[in-house]
């Protein structure tokens, strides 16, 4: 099933001579269970693509469908509801709320969506459990290690029945070992059925994806074929 579909999406900022065309007729589909990386230099439009896919911004032209529902043209409130129910974000610096415990951070998006407190907490604990963090549920962010904070951020992004996980340079300032750990967790979420989009300029992060889409000057210029199995490099005399 297709979870995210962008059809000929364009985005223009400003007008007149100061006009900037951030995206030009970008089409992209991401299926359930698939992880797609969007690679491009600064200014290529990759963050714009993510904020439009995440319904935080509206496209100037084209259609955005989340789980088959067209969000373009929806009211602000309706879009916010789709966002709260279906979409999870992982930010560069994880953006955990310092005054809330790990469990409260994770269940917050559900409570904001009107899920009763008890149910929200149960879902939150389950998401923490899947990432091996149940025993840290009562800890505050500053009591957690960097690696644990990453996992809380990912738990928050996939809590409940979120179908779409969007990540912007998710390894942030982490070293490569921890960057790998973040990507392993995102891959694991995708194996459980979530559709993932990671935007990055880092080829090592992008190489965790099933498919890498290259963005340049707001256009999709190329993409890799779906990754081959691990056996292909081990052929004799390769």
């Amino acid at each position: 099933m297709t979870v995210l579909e962008l059809r000929d999406v364009s985005k223009v900022y400003g007008d007149g001579p100061a006009q900037v065309q951030a995206l030009r007729a970008v089409s992209l589909t991401v299926d359930e269970g698939e992880l797609v990386a969007v690679m491009g230099p600064s200014g290529s439009g990759k963050s714009t693509l993510l904020t439009i896919a995440g319904t935080l911004e509206e496209s100037t032209d084209g259609a955005v469908l989340v789980a088959g529902v067209a969000v373009s043209g929806m009211s602000r409130n309706d879009r916010a509801r789709v966002r709260r129910r279906s979409i999870g974000y992982v930010f560069q610096d994880f953006n955990l709320l310092a005054g809330l415990t790990a469990a409260e951070n994770v269940s917050l998006p559900l409570e904001l969506d009107g899920v009763p407190g008890k149910t929200a907490r149960e879902h939150g604990l389950r998401a923490l459990d899947e990432l091996g963090l149940r025993e840290r549920a009562g800890s505050f962010p500053d009591e957690l290690s960097g690696g644990e904070r990453q996992r809380v951020a990912i738990a928050r992004a996939v809590v409940g029945d979120r179908q779409l996980l969007l990540a912007d340079e998710p390894s942030g300032a982490l070293d490569s070992t921890n960057g790998d750990a973040v990507m392993r967790l995102i891959r694991a979420a995708c194996l459980r059925g979530v559709a993932g989009v990671v935007v990055t300029h880092d080829a090592q992060l992008a190489s965790w994806a099933d498919r890498v889409v290259f963005l340049r000057d707001g256009r999709v210029v190329d993409q890799t074929a779906p990754a081959a199995g691990p056996e292909s490099l081990l052929a004799p005399n390769s």
């Binding site: 690679m39 230099p41 490569s176 790998d180 392993r184 891959r187 300029h201 880092d202 080829a203 090592q204 992008a206 190489s207 965790w208 994806a209 890498v212 290259f214 340049r216 210029v221 190329d222 993409q223 890799t224 074929a225 990754a227 081959a228 199995g229 691990p230 292909s232 490099l233 081990l234 004799p236 005399n237 390769s238």
Partner: protein, 193 residues
């Protein structure tokens, strides 16, 4: 890959037979670098000739012959571990040459050439990352070897990204005319196509 020093390393753990050395050598390198079978036995002969290993003289040819490392062999191995490989004079890099030539040719879209190489490299990295995902955590040596390959390919992609940006800026300057005089390129860095 130094077969010679790999064999000395295996023998520093204790005496071994030729066949055993061959099998362990293959296992340790994680099957990443396929090895010519004959290389193990001929290398052992050379190590013996140089006094770095001794054989027990039994078992005739390679496979059944027993070998042990000598004091000279241990000293050679210790020195080799600490000798930096020669990274000072880079090899002629085919990719760099291709991009340099593409820049000079009329009617060639350099960005498209850069992208073709970038895509190929990222695809290779995806395959290595799959290997890492499935097996590197269980095998330290293999994980280290895969990381090395990923960092090497990553460096090439980063060079392509930098080249792409540099070429774009240069063509914009050409359109607008340089605002400040361009610095002189040192003569020996000038590449003639």
């Amino acid at each position: 890959m130094s077969v010679r020093h790999a064999l000395l390393a295996l023998l520093s753990e204790g005496p071994k037979y030729g066949l055993q050395l061959r099998q362990e050598f293959e296992a340790r390198t994680g099957e990443v670098w396929p090895l010519n079978v004959g290389q193990v036995y001929t290398t052992l002969q050379r190590l013996e000739r140089d006094g770095l290993v001794e054989s027990d003289g039994s078992g005739g040819e390679g496979p059944q012959k027993g070998f042990r490392i000598t004091d000279d062999g241990r000293a050679e191995l210790a020195a080799w571990l600490r000798t930096p490989p020669d990274l000072s004079s880079p090899p002629r890099d085919e990719l760099v040459i291709k991009i340099l030539i593409a820049v000079r040719l009329p009617n060639v879209d350099v960005h498209e050439v850069v992208q073709a190489h970038r895509k190929y490299l990222v695809q290779l990295m995806q395959e290595w990352t799959r290997l890492k995902e499935y097996s590197a955590e269980r095998d330290l040596g293999f994980g280290l070897a895969v990381d090395a390959e990923l960092f090497r390919l990553d460096a090439v992609v980063r060079w392509l990204d930098a080249a792409d940006g540099r070429i774009k800026r240069a063509s914009l300057e050409l359109l607008e005319g340089p605002r400040t005089p361009l610095p002189k390129v040192p003569r020996r860095a000038v590449v003639r196509s």
